[in-house]
Amino acid sequence: MSRNDQVWIKRNYENCSGCRRCEIACALYHEGKIWPEASRIRVFMLVPGVEIPHLCFQCDDYPCVEACPTEALSVNSQTRAVNVDASKCTACGLCIKACPGNVPHLHPEGNYIVICDLCDGKPKCVKACQEGRWNTLMPVPREKEVSYKTLAKTPKELTHEVAKQILGEETAKEVID
């Protein structure tokens, strides 16, 4: 697989309806259950109407993998997704701290981190979102020129940015700060 066959999930935050069908699809695929907290994509709604689907940005230099002291994290050479070896993960949380978007989170019941693994190259969340034609999550080829790490932000940072777009600066300020 060349770099250009690899999928990157582009997010159009302003399109997100908050339907969480992506969470349902992800959890069903990975956990066999409808389980919002165990989903690798989580839709944050820190302010009603401003919904932020949050999942791994696949930074080019993978700071999370670098930070992991137990080698529980690795980069899938095919998809470039971060793979988690749950048996090696000690839930120390260093990957979360290293991630510019605070993306990894603990499995709600198991003592290990979960991160989007791109469903082996066929992202289920994207399919669910596309079915509904919300076009929030779009599969795009992974490009050399783009620095994906610069897109990685925390839910709070993204909420601020998107709220400004949707609500206008003043109103956003009032409802968030």
Binding site: E14, N15, S17, G18, C19, R20, R21, I24, A27, L28, E31, G32, K33, I34, W35, P36, E37, A38, R42, V43, F44, M45, L46, V47, P48, G49, H54, A91, C92, G93, I96, N102, V103, P104, H105, L106, P108, E109, I113, E131, G132, R133, W134, T154, P155, I166, L167, G168, E170, T171, E174, V175, I176
Partner: protein, 624 residues
Amino acid sequence: MRGYAGKFLEIDLSNRNIKETKFPDEVLRDYIGGRGLATKVLWDRLGREWETVDPLGPENILLVLTGPFTGYFPGTKVCVSGKSPQSNGVIGSTVAGEFGIDLKCAGYDGLIITGKAEKPCYVFICDNQVEIKDASPIWGKKARETLRFLVRKSIEEIKDARPNYGEVKEPSILYIGPAGENKTRVAAVVAKYAHGAGYGGYGGVMGAKNLKAIVAKGFGPVPDVYDKEKTLSLAKGFSELNFEMERFRRWGTGGGGYFFGAETSSEPIRNWQNEWHNKESYKGEEFDKYWVKKNWGDFGCPTTCLKLAVLKTGRFKGAICDNPDYELEAYLGTNLGIFTPEENIYLSYVSNELGLCGIQGGAVLGLAAELYEKEILTKEDLDGIEPEWANVEAFTTLAEKVAFRQGIGDILAEGVYRAALKLGEMKGVDLLKYAVHEKGVAIGAHGVRSGKDFIAKNIAYACSVQGGDHTSTASLPLDQGSGELSTIMADSAVFCVFAAFGIEDIKMFNFYEAVTGWKLTKKEWYNEKALRILHLQRAMLLLGGPDVKWKPKADDDNPPRFWEPLPSGPYKGKTLDRKMFEESRLEYFRAAGWNENGVPKPETLRRLGLEDVEAKLKEVSLIK
């Protein structure tokens, strides 16, 4: 047991006692959840002294219940219930949002809240950590501030409990605004900014319990179902149907403002003096420039029929709300003589901020405006406010008065029926002819006079056990998908009827079986289980009290205004035919197993295993 978490939380606010409650399988099989189960709990616990229970007193029980469909059916709601301060009966009032999902993921099928807290409080639930917390910093606060406080504080608390978890997602929140705090009968229980359980007046019940909000966060999975493959494949089919409904997906019920107003003459105009408006107003397209091109839906929702509306410019800049759905287009629009989307959005925002029910609150503003128009209420009576039709500022001020029960607002806060009674006494005239309600519940924005509305026909409200609730209307034959017994299924299994458009009810029974593993035939539902729930609701509605009681038959009637001929439009001159109405009503009574006066017959009650209801109705001489 599948499809259920298996336990309920019982919270006594008076002595701050919290415990887990279970119901036997038979009870869940018969009453399912949501509205059905609420009815059962209320009857068992308060039935004996129902007439004396004050809905706004500490003795009322507030129920917040999910159903087995919660989490699996695409599109979610939660059902709020209790003794209704509007009807003095029981209403199952549903509200959208993720609250039901979070509750189930926390391990509970529902909440049973009793007593009254000494001081303003809120309930915080995070899995098995359940606490009653101090709400004094947000008591008196409107929607935006309440939410901002609770989201922030709750996230901090969850983070403290799970230090290495990573980013914590916000919990789901049900809350009240000032309208609920001040125990108005027109207050909603609200989720997000603008989703409300308004029918019933349960916002006032929360206020009476000093309960500002309920916060829920669950980290577990939605409970397992009996047949996962089948459940998911049926759910997929339901979604696919919805994906095809372009119009509905684009405008939601808000696309109806034109249809009901201009074509079918069933939309309220100026306190229902008319039901027709000319063609230019409230076409879905008219709203397009105010909503931010953003679909908005709740957990699993395929239609996302809601839209976020924001006024970014103009004199009402900064207002945010759900783009008004059809009901709010009507009750905070046409019914107040407002015909511009911008003002309609603004007034919806005002109503949301105050925690008023858009329908019940809008209805009482409309009543005040008509009484002012007719010079029955003067500027002095109205604390200097002059609610002329279309005067958004006047309606805004009046809405504030209602929510805070100030001056004239204290009377209007009682809802259209009680307000008309009180004002009538004050003025020494009969004002009930201007109160468009059914058993104390202001009627949904679907008039019956033209006969062209698809949900509201002659006996729709008159015979409904939920009064004016347009989502639960009575019709014949009893076992058809659009009647009240079918709504009892939606409100009890708890799913969104807007995500269930076009789905034959047989599929619902299949879905029920796939989720729970319990077989339920259509016959069993319509002839027995739904009918039993209906009878319990009917019995409590007739027992009523303490301030108001409904007389069977006499009060099973349309409000006087619906007997006035339509004054204009394509159905000008049309109204209901008295004789035909009475025939339908009698036929409905018979089909339901009630006598010719609308009282459940002893043999019907016995057939349904409701001997205790029979005894109670005998005790109060409703049956011999």
